[in-house]
Amino acid sequence: MKVMNMVQSINNALDIKLKEDDSVIIYGEDVGVEGGVFRITEGLQKKYGADRVFDSPLAESGIIGTAVGMAVAGLRPVVEMQFSGFVYPGFNQIISHAARMRNRSRGKFTTPMVIRMPYGGGINALEHHSESMETLFGHIPGLKVVIPSTPHDAKGLLIAAIESNDTVIYMEPKRMYRAIKQEVPEEKFNIPLGKAQVISPGTDITVVAYGAMIREVQKAMVLAKEAGISVELIDLRSIYPIDRDTLATSVKKTGRILTVTEGPRSFGVASEITQIINEDAFLYLEAPPKRVTGFDTIVPLPKGEHHYMQSAEKIFYELEKTVKY
């Protein structure tokens, strides 16, 4: 075990995979010499050479499209989008190819690749640097979409993503990069993709979140506890496939559910969870499934961002209403 923050644990996962598998190749904007704008890939070029860890030209479609080709040819590219808000020039390569090559070729060609991208708000950034658009990927058939919330999970999920023979969108809650430290095993370990985790059991209400929102919920749980409310917190971890069982099992116990996400409200992850709960646990529902999300607006620039973000208080406010419903 070693104490790591999320930057370190992701770097560590990449290091392990680069070491044990020479088909792993890392590239993207500024990931080579500089080690990425968040220093996630720091030191890896020096260690593994510029043919395995390198800077690409500034072109997201180029990065993702060439990764599709590499993956088809047998490599395991792990590419970085500098921010998730800049993935869109590469969107066509994701939806039309990375997600489809396996089906199109009836399994003959696969695209074992990972597209890493920092996402989410709370770092006082410029426009396009604070988005949470995981829904867009969740809705695309053929992709897996993963979001860790802790240094520990970041490592285990990333290793699993790199070893997966499917295309994995791996979204990193950038606000968490250096926010917490945690004991993380130094050796290799996998966390299976597609499984949610019950972080803390409770009886009155289920709260589902992921990424940086976990910590906000945990803060809200302090207020809930004061108010005598027992919360069962689930870290979704995987946006697609989504772990219906864990969600339904929890709601069958608590009868209530609240989902907290950063992204725009309409057509968001919360709505999908509500649909699932309606399908799988309708008769157990004692209150309408509730969502605490961003607005249907663009994330405001830093001076207005606090309005948009989910705070402990805002979560508690809705949580209490749902429990009292």
């Binding site: 479609s61 499209g65 066509n92 060609f109």
Partner: protein, 362 residues
């Protein structure tokens, strides 16, 4: 040769004229006669298949099909030069090259009949399926070529795109990445003068496509795409160039789409009979045939016989495809992930329950 035909010199590379006469002995490719005859046969086969496919479509036996008519020399030349090991990354108008790489007509028919099984190409080595989103495939070829270079393999990646496709951002990014990475990839642009109804001059103000290589610091060459020998020689040179580690080559094959864009298209809406007739003189099959006849390597009778055989063979494969059978429910679901996610499995099960209910109702 790539130097002599530097695109800035604005000379198109051509070896035979419209009558099949050799006009450029210096660069006539070093080919045994049998291989030239083979090229002719393959071209004839591709054309026969093409024409018959159009007629199947008219009979409503397949869906939309994009004919290759008039452009076949490009695919035939590339097909002869691709080794088993080389990679082929097609657009969607390269029947001859796909067949050479190991695809079967039956598979192509299955594809145009609406089965994904028709793009699995079970026997073809290192060929990825048709890419419908224009120009996006070029980047895959560059990624593949990166693997070749990284693994120090003796391979080249061939990829194709149309003149319309050169307007897409992915064309730019692919050539630019390939130039920076110096990887062994050949970009073959079939400049057939149209992107559906859009004429070349509406695609770009540049003087042809080959000249765009300058923007990426890579080699380029403009070739008469209806001249089998020129295409062969140009690709051969480009392959050597790439294999020697000198990076990618952009080959512009100047040609003409004699048929419709696809079977749903009507070219009379946007081009003139005169233009079509002008290009008819440059038909690649006619020119290659004229060359071979002059050299007494084929006769009309031989051709008749071949044609009859080919028609039968095309029909045989078509019939096989037509009898392929229904599309299993399983196939809708099973190829999306290595393991089918629970929820997807549940969707499949639910659908199967519905099918049972439906059957019971009737």
């Amino acid at each position: 040769m790539l130097k002599e035909y530097d695109p800035l010199k604005k000379k198109i590379f051509r070896v035979i004229d419209n009558d099949g006469k050799v006009i450029n002995t210096k660069w006539f490719p070093d080919l045994p006669d049998e291989q030239i005859v083979k090229a002719y046969k393959d071209l004839l086969f591709a054309r026969t298949a093409d024409l018959q496919t159009i007629s199947y479509q008219r009979q409503g036996r397949i869906y939309t099909y994009p004919p290759n008519l008039g452009q076949e020399a490009i695919s035939i030349a590339a097909g002869q030069l691709m080794r088993e090991n080389d990679w082929m990354v097609p657009a969607f108008r390269e029947m001859g090259a796909m067949l050479a790489k190991g695809a079967t007509l039956k598979e192509l028919f299955l594809y145009y009949m609406g089965y994904e099984d028709g793009s699995a190409f079970k026997e073809a080595r290192n060929m990825i399926p048709t890419s419908v989103p224009i120009a996006s495939q070029l980047l895959h070829a560059v990624g593949i070529a990166y693997e070749i270079k990284y693994r120090k393999k003796d391979q080249v990646a061939f990829t194709f795109v149309g003149d319309g496709g050169t307007s897409e951002g992915d064309f730019h990014e692919a050539l630019n990445f390939a130039g920076v990475w110096q990887v062994p990839v050949l970009f073959i642009v079939q400049n057939n003068q149209y992107g559906i109804s859009t004429p070349f001059k509406m695609q770009t103000a540049s003087d042809g496509i080959a000249i765009k290589s300058v923007a990426y610091g890579i080699k380029g060459i403009q070739v008469d795409g209806n001249d089998f020998f020129a295409m062969y020689k140009a690709i051969e040179e480009a392959v050597s160039h790439a294999k020697e580690g000198n990076g990618p080559v952009l080959i512009e094959a100047v040609t003409y789409r004699k048929g419709a864009h696809t079977t749903s298209d009507d070219p009379t809406k946007y081009r003139t009979k005169e233009e079509e007739m002008e290009w008819d003189k440059k038909d690649p099959l006619k020119r290659l045939k004229a060359y071979l006849k002059r050299k007494k390597l084929i006769t009309d009778k031989m051709e008749e016989k071949l044609l009859a055989d080919y028609k039968k063979e095309v029909d045989r494969q078509f019939t096989e495809a037509e009898n392929y059978g229904p599309y299993p429910v399983e196939d809708v679901f099973q190829y999306h992930y290595e393991e089918m996610p629970d929820d997807l499995l549940a969707q499949k099960n639910e659908y199967e329950r519905f099918l049972k209910w439906k059957e019971a109702r009737v």
